[in-house]
């Protein structure tokens, strides 16, 4: 599924998990608590900012090499 190809890879998740459990980086993982409007803006901004890399991933997924016998 294309949508699955857009999710973080296992390596990216491992890096994120290591960072999240590093006390030095705790501020990077704090909840954003500046009101509902700001939260919505963050979500929209994250979606917009991700578009170029999503497109890159989607292209990479669509033109990936498929081993013979795999759908």
């Amino acid at each position: 599924m294309l949508i699955d190809a857009l999710r973080p890879t296992q390596q990216e998740l491992q890096d994120l998990a290591r960072a999240e459990t590093d006390p030095e980086q705790v501020a990077r993982f704090q909840p954003i608590c500046r009101g509902p409007l700001f939260a919505v803006m963050v979500i929209v901004a994250a979606g917009v900012a991700a578009v170029p890399s999503l497109l890159a991933r989607a292209v990479k997924y669509l033109f990936r090499r498929v081993p013979s016998g795999e759908a």
Partner: protein, 539 residues
């Protein structure tokens, strides 16, 4: 030493309740169990709040993600994805000692000291008289049994909760209720303001009873609201069956033998039983003898042992499993808002989804906040690069409300298990054949639709519907039922013994003919007490 009178197989909620009742009555009891545990990792978790540990503990990765990063679920994992590293002993080597063929039905089976109870979410519910009757249980005995179970495991409950008529009735004695976190509190306030409209969809919400202490019950202590309950057993506040096993080990009437996976049981001519088990450290079968045995190995494994004992390899027996779906939601009242640190990690509240006619409980739900499961797991679910997924997770985390919805399950020809023929000295492999009918699936879809409408009315916006698979509820029953339409000669007698296996009783949910939508653990404890009393009387 005096000979054992009763062998109890398994140390889960049923097994520990059966054994504790027998020991209290002065019956010499021997518990046989695989019994894996992880006291070292448990002890490595400091007794401190989640936020303090996150900010200060340099060793936190050990228990939050594991030394081998085992807390990061690999892609495609079907069983145990929800277990944090300190809880993963629950199914250690399960593939070896509780083998099953891979299928769409991928149950979580436990090899742990405490069985699946070692990871129980602690929600306690009483079955109604109708539900008990449909399951084949004596409904008149249960009000008193529920009281005994509450005293045994320690329950906190709100005597005035709006959902008590369906979920906690009659209400056994309990400690004062737990505090609800900010996320849950905002939703419950909304429910109080708009109860009439929300109930039009059959949705009723309120605080639910939990096997979590709010007052000390030595040696156990009240919950410290550290939000670490998915990882450690802080102050032993959340009930775990191993506490009962530890207590019993101090009694002269109790022996505990871990490291053994039971293969089969046999009735001996002199009115005794023999239990054959494999030592998990290696070697051939080991024989244990007693006057009586009580199987409490979990419905699936109890079914396996009973089928194997009667030489019924290849024959299909019934299987019940509550269907389960969960809905991650955004609680709009908490979006972008700060939340207090002080909270427990288990279900903040719960409720029922009534039938359209309002006369029966179609579904039971529980609401969890998310924080202590860490943001990287949220980012994993988002179709975004990790940096941006993390932003979204940080914006959403305080407002995330995860609603798990359970349904009831009925016997059918298309829900079955069997054991595969194999060598006599090997644990037989289970094969599942679980396919709810199209009528059942359509009924669930309609119920879920009503539930989603109720959620929206609670100002909780569903952002997904996750069906984790048919076995994911971890609520299993009915493999040796009182009434077996698939294999009539393979059933449990009204006195709890297995037909054609005199002296062998069932103490778990294997005999039930029906599985309500409610979590079954509390009823397992009450039923364990009932079975143990009968066994003690029959000695």
């Amino acid at each position: 030493m005096n000979p054992t009178e009763v062998i109890v197989v398994g140390s889960g909620i049923s097994g520990s309740a059966v054994a504790r009742t027998l020991v209290d009555q002065g019956v010499r009891t021997h518990m046989i169990d695989v019994g894996f545990d992880d006291p070292v990792l448990r002890a490595a978790i400091p007794d401190a709040p989640f936020s303090e540990l996150r900010a200060t503990d340099p060793q936190q990765a050990l228990y939050f993600v594991g030394d081998r990063l085992q807390g990061i679920p690999p892609p495609g994992i079907k069983v145990g994805a929800q277990l944090t590293p300190p809880r993963q002993f629950i199914h250690r080597e399960a593939g070896r000692w509780l083998p099953s063929l891979p299928s769409d039905f991928s149950p979580l089976q436990s090899t742990a000291l405490g069985g699946l109870g070692a990871g129980w979410g602690a929600a306690c519910f009483t079955f109604s008289a109708d539900e008990l009757s449909m399951a084949g249980l004596p409904e008149r005995e249960f009000p008193a049994l529920y009281g005994c179970a509450a005293a045994m495991i320690g329950v906190s409950a709100d005597p005035a909760s709006a959902v008590n008529p369906w979920l906690w009735n009659p209400a056994p004695p309990a400690q004062p209720p737990l505090d609800v976190d900010d996320n849950g509190q905002r939703i419950l306030e909304r429910v109080d303001r708009d109860r009439a409209r929300i109930s039009r969809y059959g949705v009723h919400a309120g605080r639910i009873p939990m096997a979590i202490l709010t007052e000390d019950l030595p040696p156990r202590r009240a919950n410290p609201y550290f939000d670490m309950d998915f990882y450690g057993d802080s102050r032993m506040s959340v009930f775990r069956p191993r506490y009962l096993v530890s207590e019993m080990r101090r009694s002269g009437y109790f022996t505990y033998t871990p490291g053994h996976a039971v293969l089969r049981v046999r009735a001996l001519p002199e009115g005794a039983v023999e239990v054959l088990a494999l030592n998990t450290q290696g070697g051939g079968p080991v024989s244990f003898r007693a006057r009586t045995a009580v199987l409490c190995a979990g419905a699936l494994n109890t079914g396996r042992i009973a089928l194997n004992s009667l030489g019924l390899a290849g024959r299909r027996t019934t299987l019940l499993c509550s269907p389960y779906t969960y809905f991650p939601c955004v609680n709009l009242a908490m979006l972008g808002q700060p939340a207090a640190d002080r909270r427990h990690s288990m279900a903040q509240f719960g409720g029922v989804l009534l039938s359209r006619a309002g006369d029966s409980v179609d579904g039971v739900f529980q609401m969890y906040s998310y924080r202590s499961l860490l943001l990287f797991k949220l980012a994993k679910e988002m179709p975004l690069p990790p940096r941006y997924g993390l932003w979204v997770a940080r914006a959403l985390v305080n407002a995330l409300a995860i609603f798990g919805l359970f349904f009831k399950d009925l016997q059918s020809d298309a829900k079955a298990l069997r054991i595969l023929p194999g060598p006599p000295d090997e644990i037989p492999t289970l094969q599942f054949d679980y396919a709810p009918s199209e009528v059942e699936r359509a009924w669930r879809r309609e119920a879920e639709q009503r539930f989603r409408r109720g959620l929206r009315r609670m100002r909780c916006l569903p952002i997904g519907r996750i069906n984790p698979g048919d076995a994911a509820s971890i609520h299993y029953a009915g493999t040796v039922p009182f009434s077996n339409p698939l294999l009539p000669e393979f059933h449990t007698n009204p006195d709890g013994s297995i037909e054609r296996l005199p002296g062998v009783y069932l103490g778990d949910s294997a005999p039930w003919n029906f599985l309500p939508a409610k979590g079954l653990s509390f009823t397992l404890a009450a039923n364990g007490i009932r079975v143990a009393r009968r066994v003690a009387q029959a000695l």
